[in-house]
C-alpha cells in the first residue's frame, strides 16, 4: 500500500516565541495546536490522532489529558530531533489505513529557559552502549565534531566551507521576522567564534531556544475542503545508524538509507526539488546529510554548499527559515522542517519565498552523527 497523496498537511503553526520562561511546555503545545487547527479551519474536537515526542515515556497520555482529547490513535515515537518528521509519515500511514482522520502532531519545549545543557552536557553511563561511552565525556557537539574531523581529513573539507552553511542560513534568517538571530555574519565571523569542540566553532552549532509547533495531517480528500491549499505527502522513509559493532564509517548518515528510498517511492529525483529542509544541528550535519541523500557525491559536500547553491535563488535553497543555526532550536527541530516546507509550498513565505515552489524534501536527523542517530525523510508536494 502506497501512502502517496493519501494524506495532506492541512494546518501548520510555528510558535513565535524563542524564550518562554513564563509559559509551561504543555501551554506552548496547546497554543501551537490551536494555531495549526485555526490554520486548517478545524477544531480540537476534530482531532482523533495524537503524535508527540519530548514528553517522557507515557507523556503523550498526559498531553491528551491536558488537551482533553480521547484520540483513536497515539504515537510518541522518540527518535530524537527527527521524531516529528517521522510522525508526519506515521500519521499519513495511519490515515491511509483508516486508524484516524485528523492527526495532530505537537512539540513544545523550554530547554533554553530551563537551562538544559543539551549540547555540552554529559552522556549517561548506564545500559549499553552508554557504559562504553559516558566515561569518555561525550557531548552532543563533540559527537558531531568527531564526524567533522574525519570528513576534513578524508575529503579535505575546510572550516571555511562549513562556515558557508552558517552564513547562508543566517542570510535566510534575516528575512524571517521570527528568527532569533537575524544579523548577517561572515565566514570569518564563524571561524573567529570560539571553538566548542574541535573543529566546530560556536557558530557551527545550532542554538538552544524555547519554542514549539504543530502540524495537522488529514486525508487528501478532507484537506481539499479545508481553508488552505493542501500540501500532499508523496512519500517517506526512515532509517537509523549506529556504531555497527565497531565498524561504522562515521562520514555516512542514516540519510543514505532513507533518502533514496523516499525519492524512489515518490518517483522523483534530486533535480526535481525546489527546496529542501535539512536538519542543521551543526554545519557538518548539513554537509554530510546532503552527501548521504545524494544531492552531491560523498566528500563533495564542502564544495557543494559554496557559491550560493544552497541559498535563496540558488540551485537548492535549504533551511529558508533560518534553520536551527539561526531561527530556533528548542532541543528538537523536526517539526519546523515540515512547517517551513509546507509554508514554502503554499507560497506563504514573503521575502524568503522560493519562486514557484512545488516540490520539497525534508530530512530530519535525530541523535548524533558520531555515535548513533535516526533519519527521517519526507517528500512533500502540491
Amino acid at each position: 500500500m502506497s501512502i502517496s497523496r493519501k494524506a495532506a498537511l492541512a494546518g501548520v503553526y510555528e510558535h513565535p516565541l524563542r524564550w518562554a520562561p513564563h509559559k509551561t511546555q504543555y501551554q506552548i503545545m496547546a497554543e501551537s495546536a490551536r494555531g495549526a487547527l485555526d490554520d486548517a479551519g478545524l477544531s480540537i474536537k476534530d482531532v482523533n490522532g495524537l503524535f508527540t515526542s519530548g514528553v517522557g515515556g507515557m507523556g503523550i497520555i498526559a498531553l491528551a489529558e491536558h488537551l482533553n482529547l480521547n484520540p483513536d490513535f497515539l504515537d510518541s515515537n522518540s527518535i530524537g530531533g527527527s521524531s516529528f518528521v517521522s510522525h508526519t509519515a506515521h500519521a499519513a500511514a495511519a490515515i491511509a489505513a483508516g486508524y484516524c482522520d485528523v492527526a495532530l502532531i505537537l512539540y513544545g519545549s523550554k530547554w533554553s529557559s530551563d537551562r538544559f545543557a543539551v549540547g555540552t552536557g554529559g552522556g549517561g553511563s548506564g545500559d549499553p552502549p552508554e557504559q562504553f561511552e559516558g566515561c569518555y565525556g561525550p557531548t552532543t557537539v563533540g559527537d558531531y565534531a568527531l564526524a567533522a574531523q574525519r570528513h576534513m581529513y578524508e575529503f579535505g573539507t575546510t572550516g571555511e566551507q562549513l562556515a558557508e552553511i552558517a552564513v547562508t542560513t543566517r542570510k535566510h534568517a534575516s528575512l524571517n521576522p521570527h528568527a532569533k538571530f537575524r544579523d548577517l555574519i561572515s565566514v570569518d565571523d564563524v571561524l573567529a567564534s570560539r571553538e566548542v569542540s574541535s573543529p566546530l566553532h560556536l557558530l557551527d552549532c545550532c542554538m538552544i531556544s524555547d519554542g514549539g509547533g504543530a502540524l495537522v495531517v488529514t486525508s487528501a480528500e478532507r484537506a481539499r475542503d479545508l481553508k488552505k491549499k493542501p500540501v500532499y505527502l508523496l512519500s517517506a522513509a526512515e532509517a537509523c545508524t549506529h556504531t555497527s559493532a565497531g565498524m561504522r564509517d562515521i562520514t555516512d548518515a542514516a540519510a543514505k538509507q532513507s533518502g533514496p528510498k523516499a525519492m524512489a517511492r515518490a518517483g522523483v529525483s534530486h533535480s526535481d526539488f525546489d527546496m529542501a529542509m535539512i536538519y542543521d544541528s551543526f554545519t557538518i550535519t548539513v554537509c554530510i546529510t546532503l552527501e548521504s541523500l545524494g544531492f552531491c557525491q560523498k566528500g563533495e559536500g564542502g564544495a557543494y554548499v559554496q557559491n550560493g547553491r544552497i541559498g535563496l535563488g540558488g540551485e537548492l535553497p535549504i533551511n529558508t527559515d533560518g534553520g536551527g543555526l539561526s531561527s530556533n532550536h528548542p532541543g528538537m527541530r523536526g517539526i519546523f522542517l515540515v512547517i517551513e516546507a509546507v509554508k514554502q509550498l503554499r507560497g506563504e513565505c514573503g521575502e524568503r519565498q522560493v519562486k514557484d515552489c512545488a516540490l520539497a524534501f525534508c530530512h530530519g536527523t535525530g541523535g548524533t552523527l558520531g555515535l548513533r542517530h535516526s533519519g527521517a525523510s519526507l517528500v512533500l508536494g502540491v
Binding site: A117, T120, G121, G122, G123, G124, S125, G126, D127, P128, P129, Q131, F132, E133, G134, C135, Y136, G137, P138, T139, V141, G142, A145, L146, A147, A148, Q149, R150, Y153, R194, E195, V196, S197, S198, P199, L200, T243, A245, G246, M247, R248, I250, G370, L371
Partner: protein, 141 residues
Amino acid sequence: MADEKKKANRPVPRVDEESRPFWEACARHELYVQKCRTCGTVFYYPRAFCPEDMSQDFEWLRCSGRGTVYTFTITRQNQSAGFRNKVPYVMAYVELEEGVRMLTNIVDCDPESVTIGMPVEVTFEDVTPEVSVPLFKPATE
C-alpha cells in the same frame, strides 16, 4: 560503591551481565574484544552474541593494545561533573589493530598534538578499585 562513585573523577561504567568479562579484564589492565567462532567477525562493544549472525559461540580476543586515531575532537566545553575540570580533553575513536573502532580518550599528551592516523597504545585509568577504563596515549615506539 555509592561513595566510590561519588569520589570517581569520571562516570563509572555500569558493569552488567554481558560486559562483565570485558570490564574484569580492564581491571587487570588488559584489553579484550570478542571474535565470533562461527563467522569470524571481531566486534566491539561487548555483548552476549555475535552481532553479525547472532551466534553465541565466541571467544575473547586479547588485544595488542595498539591502534591508530580514526577521528578525534578536542572538547573545550562540557558542563557535566567529571569533565567540567578536564577541559580541554581529547575524545577519539581509536581503530585497534584487531580492526574495531572504540570510543576513548587520548591522554598523556598535549591535546593539540593529536592527529588522525597517529599511532597510540592503551593505558588504563582506575576509576574505582573495581573498575578501570581503557584510554590511549601516543605509542612509545
